[in-house]
Each structure stands twice: as structure tokens, then as C-alpha cells.
Symmetry: C2
Subunit: 274 residues, 2 copies
């Protein structure tokens, strides 16, 4: 039986083309037998780069669709250097992607996928429009601060991995709400898109276990402690699907060093070889 | 142009079947476009296990030949619990492998191959029968001790990765010499096969840079210091071919933890998925 194709959404600028390639390479290598399709929402990636990206994806059997977003959509949006229009793309994906796409998995490009994603792809969202993980427990302090800061009563979700039920999301996501939210809360927004997502759609989000679906690669010891010793390296390698290299220091930069850096840099090498 | 097949030699007992599978998986994944053939020299691996090994190899396009070594060969060998006959197999490979095999790459099973091996396979041995790396500089003290202990004037080679020019080796390797050596030096031999190799054939060995061909995964910092900062993790992932998990603590055991453990355990997972 042929399995249903998995639709992926990415939104990045030129600087993240390399990491995206690494992310996709890891995803394909760890999901043999699956077929994927990639949707890129962007505003300013050069035609030449898009061509290369398409060839890179196609060479691995992955259809690639780049959608350049019409600036007219953002006529009423508060846009500034701090809030470029790209920050809205993942939030507006339900409106920007074709109606024929019913479900999409958004992934940041600073991620390695090291195990099969199908269990997430097939997850019953129980009426929720989104599924995402919070890094609570690993970063308990920030979780509390963010709840207070945004006056929400749910965990503060990380927006780096988001499964979207697009039909459900199309009913609740309105560009105007997003623009209003940014206008009203500009002063408090630290991570604009993630904050807005939490503020407006956190209640419509099914919480996912982050140790599986959005493991923050900076905090091996915190996960180990929180899990009372369960999340040893063996466990992580067997169960974690998305290793997320959060934070300012990135694993593709030279001085980056932690217990996942060899793995990341090896995937860079596997990717460079293509 | 079709590339010449690469002949691999392994000799292990039942406990190393799992690690061998991981080693082979890493070798194949990092050497796309190459074809390999595996020779296993063994004495007591069960038919059932051999069958599984053959299927594992064949499923990945690798012919597998298990040669059960005739005990009669070892009629005159000093054999004991400390010196089982298996320790002689890699030394006697020039005699035990078919004459049609002209060159072979011996690999321990506690190795990950993370980059292409062809540069070693095609290396000009300049008349030497063997090529191997020593861990000198990383373990300078032991190197000196071993030179003194074995009264040799060359580096102490690690026998975990050995390229053998079998025709050249067939001219110098004699079972009788090996058995005599063991008899005479039994009291001094710490790592029997490796010591014997160094004692008898060290002079016929071309030294290889260990940071590329036999990187001891325990000593990241020592390599970094010895190379005056060159062998950063990026460098290792781009240049090192064989990561050798030397020592008593093995990366497939649960408590093993260093900066290469995530990489090793990920390869275990990639292997388990086959």
C-alpha cells in the first residue's frame, strides 16, 4: 500500500539554505520508504538559489514548490526591520498554501530528523488546529515567565516544529488578527512569530512531548534529570525524532561543541557529498 | 568506469556481530558508488548466525564469504585461553585468504567509517606489505613503552585498521614465525596479536596518519592539542575516515559517553532499522 505523501513547510532566508539541505538530508535518510513534498514560503530568495534548491530536492525524489509571497498580502501588516514580513509566513501558512494541502508539517531548518516522522504525521489532533511542543520542564523558568508575559494559561510552545491541520487552521487563522496582535503588543514581543502563535493559537494547540518531537539539543542534562534518568543518549537516539539546535550558537559554526555536534557535522558532510 | 571492488577482512566472535553490522552500515552509507566484499575468518560462529550475516550483507549488495579456519592449521600453535586461535587469523590472512585476493582491508568491528575509504584502498604501499597507523602522539607514553618493551625502532602500530598487500605479505608471513614468536615472548605479550604484528611485521609496515585512518575516539582533546587546533570537530567529521572506539568501554554499552557517542548510537539505530 502506498503511503500518503508527507507535506513539509519551510520558510527561510538565504542564510538558511545550507542548514535546510542538512535538515532534509537527515529527514530522508531516517525515513526510508516515505515520500515527501516541500513547500517553501519566501519573499526574496534569488531565482538561481531556488533552482539549486529544486534540483537538490528533486535529485532525492522530493517535489519542491517555492511560493513567493505577494507583498500585497502585507499591505496592512506592521512591518519593520524587527518584524519582517517573513515572520508571518508560518502563521499564515493556512492561507498561503493551496487549499488542496490539508495537513502540513512545519520544520525550522536548524533541526536534524533522526527517526521516523510518520507517527506525528498520522497523529489525531483531536480537533486542534496545531500540534507543537513546549520546552517546559527543561526551561521551567522561561515557561513561567512567558505564561505571565503573554497572560496565557497553557505552556509556551516552541514554533520550530508544528503540525498543522490546515482545514481546521483555515477556520481560525485570520491575517487581520495577527497584524492586530503585533500592533497591540509590539513592545512585549520578544520572539515575534512564536509569541504571536502562542498568544493567538496556543489554545488551539495539542501539546507534544518535546523529548520526542522538539528536543532542545542544548539541554541533554536537563532532559536526563527531568526524566529521572530515562533520557540517556541511547534513549534519545532511539526515540527522539527532531533534534532542534535552538539558540544563537549554531552547530554549523565552527566553535559549536556539545554532545550532538559530531552528529550534526556528520550530517553536514553527508549532505555536502550529494 | 566500474571501480574495483574493495575486499574487507573481519575476524570476530559472536559478541561482535552487532558492532560489525553497525560498522558495515556506516561504511556503506559513507561510500556510495563503491562495492565491497566481506571476508570473515572465524572458528566457531554458528551456522544460523552466519546465515543472518550473509543475508544482512547481501541485502545491501555485499557478497559475504565466511571461512571457517581448519584447526589443523594450528596444530603447532601455542593456544590457550589467553591466546585463542582467533588471535592468529588477521596475522595469517595472507595464507588463509584465497590467492585471488590481492589486497584486503582489515577492520576491527568497533569502528565507524564516516568518510570514503578509496584513498586508502588505492594507496601505494611503496613495497610495504602492510599499512597501519600508530596512536603515537596521542598516547606518547605508551608508544615509548611499547617500543622499549618490544625492542622495535618503529612506532607501535594499532592493528585495528590494516591495509594488506597480500602478495607482498605472502612472501614474508609464515605461520611458524608467528607461533615461535608467541612461544618465545608469551610472558611479555600484552595484546598478543598486535604485539606479534609489531614485533614481526612492523618494519614492513607503511605508517598512516591515525587522525585520518585510525582515530582513537577517546582522545578528541589530545588530537586537538597535537594538531595545534587543526583537528576541531569540523575537521574530524570532514577528514577522518575510521573512528575507532578503542578501549574497554564500548559505545554500544549504555553508560558510554563522549562526544562521539551520539554519532555511534545513531548508527546503531540506522542499522537496527534495516
Amino acid at each position: 500500500m502506498k503511503r500518503e505523501k508527507i507535506d513539509l513547510l519551510v520558510t527561510f532566508n538565504r542564510n538558511y539554505i545550507g542548514p535546510f539541505r542538512t535538515m532534509l538530508r537527515s529527514l530522508l535518510l531516517n525515513n526510508p520508504g516515505e515520500s515527501f513534498r516541500v513547500w517553501l514560503l519566501h519573499s526574496a530568495i534569488a531565482q538561481e538559489d531556488l533552482q539549486e534548491l529544486e534540483e537538490f530536492c528533486n535529485a532525492q525524489g522530493v517535489p519542491f514548490s517555492a511560493l513567493r509571497v505577494d507583498r500585497a498580502v502585507f499591505r496592512d501588516a506592521p512591518i519593520s526591520r524587527q518584524y519582517p514580513q517573513e515572520m508571518y509566513y508560518r502563521l499564515l501558512a493556512p492561507q498561503l498554501l493551496p487549499d488542496s494541502v490539508k495537513r502540513v508539517l512545519y520544520l525550522d531548518s536548524d533541526i536534524l530528523a533522526i527517526n521516523p516522522v510518520r507517527p506525528l504525521w498520522e497523529m489525531d489532533l483531536r480537533g486542534c488546529a496545531f500540534a507543537a511542543a513546549s520546552h517546559s520542564g527543561v526551561l521551567d523558568v522561561m515557561n513561567g515567565v512567558n505564561r505571565l508575559r503573554l497572560k496565557t494559561d497553557h505552556d509556551y510552545y516552541n514554533s520550530g516544529v508544528m503540525l498543522m491541520d490546515l482545514d481546521a487552521a483555515r477556520k481560525i487563522v485570520r491575517a487581520e488578527d495577527i497584524f492586530d496582535c503585533v500592533r497591540e503588543h509590539a513592545a512585549e514581543l520578544l520572539l515575534p512569530d512564536q509569541d504571536v502563535f502562542n498568544y493567538l493559537y496556543g489554545k488551539a494547540t495539542l501539546p507534544l512531548p518535546d523529548e520526542i518531537w522538539n528536543y532542545d539539543a542544548r539541554y541533554y542534562h536537563a532532559y536526563l534529570i527531568r526524566s529521572e534518568g530515562v533520557c540517556q543518549m541511547d534513549w534519545v537516539m532511539q526515540n527522539t525524532v527532531f533534534l532542534h539546535f535552538c539558540g544563537k550558537r549554531k552547530p554549523w559554526s565552527r566553535p559549536y561543541s556539545n554532545r550532538f555536534s559530531a552528529l550534526y557535522k556528520h550530517y553536514m558532510q553527508l549532505t555536502a557529498r550529494l
